[in-house]
């Protein structure tokens, strides 16, 4: 069977992955870490929850569409003018956590991509797909916990009587996609076994 995968396809895929790796490494790992160490601008804000009473709602009679309301956001940013070392670490933690997992996913995708021109239907690729799915599920499950922990600790370190609540934002989409990729990895694994069975069949 003649492969439709061209050398240009390989360049494009590798280019996209390299760009994704560079951007994620820079903005998801390098800059936040350097900021924590006092080099460059540290992460200085984190999103926290705003109590119901503090949310502002503006009503207007509206036009032909009837009464309209502008409802205030249920989140707000807690910004530190001069965060201490511990606060800098905490502020960078959620970004670094997400960045590390994203880098893991990109590296695994790159290793899969390397096999595409020759033979992608091999058991290691099934394992890599499973690891990608696991990383996505881990992000979806752990990111809210990390966010809650970090924002809660930071609110405590402020000391002032701030009427805000810890907030952890996750992604249910990451969990759903992660499960989907994990299921597909099992399908892929069984496919590689079937392929191995017919390899050398005459």
């Amino acid at each position: 069977m003649r492969s439709t995968w061209s050398r240009i396809d390989g360049y494009v895929l590798n280019g996209v992955l390299a760009l994704g790796f560079a951007l994620t490494f820079t903005f998801g790992l390098l800059l936040p870490t350097l900021g924590t160490l006092g080099v460059g601008t540290p992460v200085d804000r984190i999103r926290v929850g705003l109590p119901e009473a503090a949310r502002e709602t503006v009503s207007t009679p509206g036009g032909s569409s009837g009464r309209v309301e502008l409802v205030g956001s249920d989140t707000i940013e807690l910004a530190f003018a001069d965060p201490g070392a511990g606060q800098r670490v905490l502020l960078a933690l959620p970004i670094v956590f997400g960045g590390l997992l994203a880098l893991v996913v990109i590296v695994l995708l790159w290793r899969i991509a390397r096999t595409v021109p020759t033979d992608p239907f091999v058991p290691p690729n099934a394992r890599r797909l499973l690891m990608i799915g696991s990383a996505l599920i881990a992000y979806g499950l752990l990111a809210p916990a990390v966010g809650m922990l970090v924002s809660g600790t930071l609110i405590d370190t402020v000391g002032a009587d701030l009427d805000v609540t810890p907030l952890g934002t996750g992604s249910s989409t990451a969990i759903v996609v992660g499960f989907g990729v994990a299921v597909l990895s099992e399908v892929f694994r069984q496919g590689t076994r079937l392929r191995a069975d017919v390899e050398g069949l005459v």
Partner: protein, 75 residues
């Protein structure tokens, strides 16, 4: 299950072809199997064989499967 190279099955296609004075290309034309696949079989690199392939070769070479394939632990 033993590894693929430990199956011990020996293919005697080359001997059968020589005895009948038939080339691999001629056999390929008779049985409708590519020369590449027949070469894989002849050189002992095949890991499995379809009954249809076996039957077609036996018919073309007027032999039985036992003439084409034998088993020995030191194969």
């Amino acid at each position: 299950m033993p590894a693929d190279h430990e199956h011990g099955v020996q293919v005697h296609l080359d001997r059968l072809l020589a005895e009948r004075g038939i080339t691999l290309t001629e056999l390929s034309n008779r049985v409708g199997i590519t020369v590449v696949n027949l070469s894989v079989l002849k050189n002992g690199h095949a890991r499995s064989i379809r009954f249809s392939t076996l039957g077609a070769i036996c018919q073309a070479l007027d032999c039985s499967p036992g003439d084409l394939l034998t088993w020995g632990p030191h194969g």
